[in-house]
Structure formats: C-alpha cells, structure tokens
Amino acid sequence: MPELISSVDCLHLSIEIGGMPIRVNTTDAAFLGMLQDRYAGFVSASEHPAVEFDVDLARPGSGDPGADVRVTQHAGRWALERGDFRAEWEPASRTGRIRQSANPYSIDAVLRIVHTLVLAQEGRGFLLHAASAIRNGKAFLFAGVSGAGKTTISRLAPADATLLTDEISYVREDVRKDVRKQDNRYMAFGTPFTGELAKLGENVSAPIARLYLLAQGPENRIEPVAPGQAARELLANLLFFAEDQELVQRAFHSACEFVSRVPVSRLTFVPDARVWEMIG
C-alpha cells in the first residue's frame, strides 16, 4: 500500500536588507534557487528573522504585475495586494504568507512594501526613489523620478565609489546610544532593488553626507535647496503604499526630520564622469 502521507521539505532563506532579516519559507527548491541568485550578497545566516513568510506558489502567469498596489491594515494584519501576488503579514506574530507564481519580481515587491511599513512604523527611515553610493566613507543619495538620471549617475560612478543602489535607496536613522543626539545620524544601506543598471548594490552602509536632487542640464552645478522645497521633493520620491492615516503622518514627519538634519542640494549635471569630481 502506498504511503498516503509523505514529508515535504521546508526550505528557507533569509534576505537581510537594512539590517533587517526576512525569512522566506518554500517547499520549491527551484524557487529557492531563484531567490538565492536574485538576492546574492543579501542572503543572511540570521536565525532570528524580523519577519517570516511562507510562500505558496501559484501557476505561472497568473495576475498582472502592472496592476496597482493596495496595502491595507485590519485588526493588526496587513494585506498586500497586486495583480501578481497577495500577501498577509501580522507584525505581532512576525509571520505572514505570500501567494504568487515562481518569479522573483512579486516577492521583490513584497519585500519593498514590508520594509516601507517597518520603517514608517519606526518613524526613523524610508525607502526613496534614489541612487546611492559611498565615497570616502560617506554616503550620497541621488533622488529623482524616472529619467532624472539615477541610472546615469550610477553608471558614471568612479572606481573608488561603492554603489548601494541605482534605483531605491534605504535610509534609516542610527539610534545607537554612542551616536550623539545632535549629529546627523542617518545611514544609507545597500539594496538589491535595481533599476535599469540591473546591478545589485553592495550590502554595506555609511552615514549620509548629502541628498542630491537630480536634474540634467548644460553644465555641472550644485545649488542649495530650502528645507520646504527639499521636503516636497523628498516626499514626491518616497516609496509609500499604505492606506493608513497614522503611518502617513509618521512618514511625513520622518521625511521632514531628514531634510532638517541632512544637507540637500540640487545637482544639475551633464552626463559625463566629471560630475563625480564635485561629489565626495
């Protein structure tokens, strides 16, 4: 008589971004391999994940990844939805479930959303549409909408610059006690969230020295930006999805706090490597 019950191996992987490990459980070895390739450099050995997701794989091709994202909260549970995935996450138990097909893009979106929610809840950081790089021990952010030059400035980075991302920057306040209160304590972390360059950032971090708002023009120049304008442009480039009044307010204050502590300038540049002579 054949066995009616057979054991199913549960495979897992921890993806650590911004110092926060998220564990993904699956029963599909091929999917796990896909994730290991996709998040190489961000795979963590941590046994203490901040969040743990079980992934249920649906048939390929189901759902539209171009559909709008909806992120809502009810009774302590978050629901994350797009055409190509549905996910639930309960922060209290640190567990959740994702239903998607075996592709890396859906889970990538879930990870981004979860990080935006955690950072907004903390009120001490955010994800930003910005390239970022470390030079001389300091991190520089280059924010702008699609076409503003994030990929271009990343591509032009000199050999002594470490690319953190060409698309989505991870900003988090350093709250260690040994960091003095009056210091600018914001750190930029590398992310695996790529843009046109399709190159993962390095999984390292550094204190943020300046945020540049990108513009392309006939000459290279750097101009100061008033805090109000800086806040408007930063908020316009913030990744935020939650339909949640309290989190919206926290994200707003977090962005305003950032521009009141970190220098913000407008960087107008022509697309050649000389622009980096002004940075660092």
Partner: protein, 109 residues
C-alpha cells in the same frame, strides 16, 4: 452675524520647516504648503478663539488691512482649508479631541 470658530484637523500632520508650514493629509497623503496668512490662522486655530479675534489680533496688525475685509478673506480661506480637511470650521466652539502635533524643524520628537 454669527462668529466662526476654527480648529486644526486632527487627521493631518504639520511641520514648520524654516518658516514654511507644510501640512499632509493623513487621509489621502496630499501635501499642502500654507501661505503666511493661512499659517497664522492654522497656528491660532484652537477651536476656542473666534476667527474674528484671530484676524483682529494677528492678521490686521501684520498686514494693515481693514478688519471687515480681512475677516471676509480669512473666512473664505478657512472654508477653503476646511474643504481640504486641514481645518474644522464651525459656528460653535470646537473641542479638540486629539490635537495634531506641529513640529518645528530641528526639534526632537
């Protein structure tokens, strides 16, 4: 003529950045920047002080305008801010349930 009372809406977040008052709606994430007059009204909108008193004490001295004309402009402005959910407007004093926190740049929270 009835008096008008104004109160800061509790569902918005406000921040004064280098003298520029920025307000974000918690409902739909719309961002507003208040001009100087709107900022005066916003900051004085405690729900208990009638708008005419705010105008007389804080707007007329600032702009050297006739109280009646200034009040009319202020009422129009207050009602417009109310349509955006920034202010609550009533002909009776408004008891704030949970006042929004306004933070000035550089303040620790």
């Amino acid at each position: 003529m009835s008096r008008l009372y104004v109160a800061r809406n509790t569902r918005v977040a406000a921040r004064n950045l280098d003298g520029e008052m920025m307000i974000m709606s918690g409902k739909d994430s719309t961002l507003f920047t208040l001009n100087k007059t709107a900022t005066i009204i916003w900051q004085a909108a405690d729900g208990a002080t009638p708008l005419d008193e705010i105008v007389e004490r804080q707007i007329c001295p600032e702009y050297e305008v006739e109280p009646a004309a200034a009040l009319q402009d202020a009422e129009n402005l207050a009602r417009e801010l109310a349509t955006h959910g920034i202010l609550d407007v009533s002909e009776n004093p408004i008891v704030p349930s949970n006042p929004p926190v306004t933070v000035t740049a550089g303040d620790s929270r």
